[in-house]
């Protein structure tokens, strides 16, 4: 995937309802930290995404309507057998909205993830939409876990 480290354009895209996107605020070629911000709308609710890509980790924040930080979760592959574990670091109400998202991002990308989100609880459709958008963007940014070779009979 071609990636232009100097791109910092603001563009509006009609695809998938993305309203506004600012990509890669990396200041120079040597910066190994890339920031991608974009917004989306779901049922008239504005949703904001901030993804910070470190070489070996992803941090993401999902803001639903406001810029409140929300609850913070960390997820990574752990022993035994590299299963994915997730824990709440800050906030962490009993509903754990966001912990499932963090866990599934690790499953899809293979990279440890720290996720902050302020999505309201009891909104499964919103949560699913948000997760889909975030994973789409991560795949666009080049995060795909290599798939095992298909077994042929």
């Amino acid at each position: 995937m071609d990636f232009d480290p100097h791109a910092s354009t603001i563009e509006s895209s009609s695809a998938d309802g993305i309203v506004h996107e600012v990509q890669n605020l990396g200041i120079n070629e040597e910066s190994s930290t890339n920031i991608t911000c974009f917004s989306d709308v779901f049922n008239d609710i504005p949703i904001h995404f901030q993804i910070i890509c470190f070489p070996k980790q992803i941090y993401a924040w999902i803001g639903c309507q406001t810029a409140r930080f929300g609850s913070l979760y960390a997820a990574a592959s752990t022993r035994p057998n590299n299963i994915v574990s997730v824990t709440s670091l800050l906030g962490g109400t009993s509903d754990n909205t966001g912990s499932g998202i963090a866990r599934r991002i690790v499953l899809k990308t293979g990279v440890p993830v720290t996720l902050a989100c302020n999505i309201p609880k009891d909104s499964p459709m919103l949560e699913a939409h948000v997760e889909k958008k975030l994973i789409q963007k991560l795949i666009f940014l080049g995060y795909t876990k290599s798939k095992p070779q298909a077994v042929t009979s």
């Binding site: 904001h48 980790q57 941090y59 930080f69 800050l90």
Partner: protein, 125 residues
């Protein structure tokens, strides 16, 4: 670079970098509605994550609570760094708590002082 990527909500972020002994430290500072997030890394990950907040007490001088929420819990210099920054935030008039992540190769006083200076120079409070 200071950016306000989202219209209509109070969110801002700054990305910066400084050189330290032949390696670079990437710094990102974000301001959310109810919190500041500061990340400084040399090692490609967020490293140890700490949370620091001001506690409103009965006294005239504020007290601060600083704790590690993820990572190394036996490095007092990291907590000292968080403590310095939350005090600076408080003295600048903000009551917002701070989440600080430090992913560093060494935890010497010199590099931590360098990080505190670089963050204060690029602060969002």
């Amino acid at each position: 670079i200071l950016a306000f990527p989202f219209e209509d909500i109070g969110f801002a972020e700054i990305q910066s970098q400084f050189s330290w002994q032949e390696s670079k430290v990437d710094i990102v500072i974000c301001s959310y509605d109810d919190q500041f997030l500061v990340m400084a890394t040399q090692i490609g990950t967020m490293g140890t994550i700490m949370h620091a907040r001001k506690e409103e007490g009965m006294l005239n001088t504020p007290t601060f609570n600083v704790s590690v929420i993820f990572g190394k819990r036996d490095e007092p210099m990291l907590l000292a760094c968080a403590r310095q920054l939350i005090e600076h935030i408080s003295n600048s008039g903000s009551s917002k708590p701070l989440t600080l992540s430090l992913g560093l190769k060494d935890h010497s006083m010199e590099i931590l002082k360098g990080i505190v200076s670089a963050v204060i120079e690029n602060r969002l409070w």
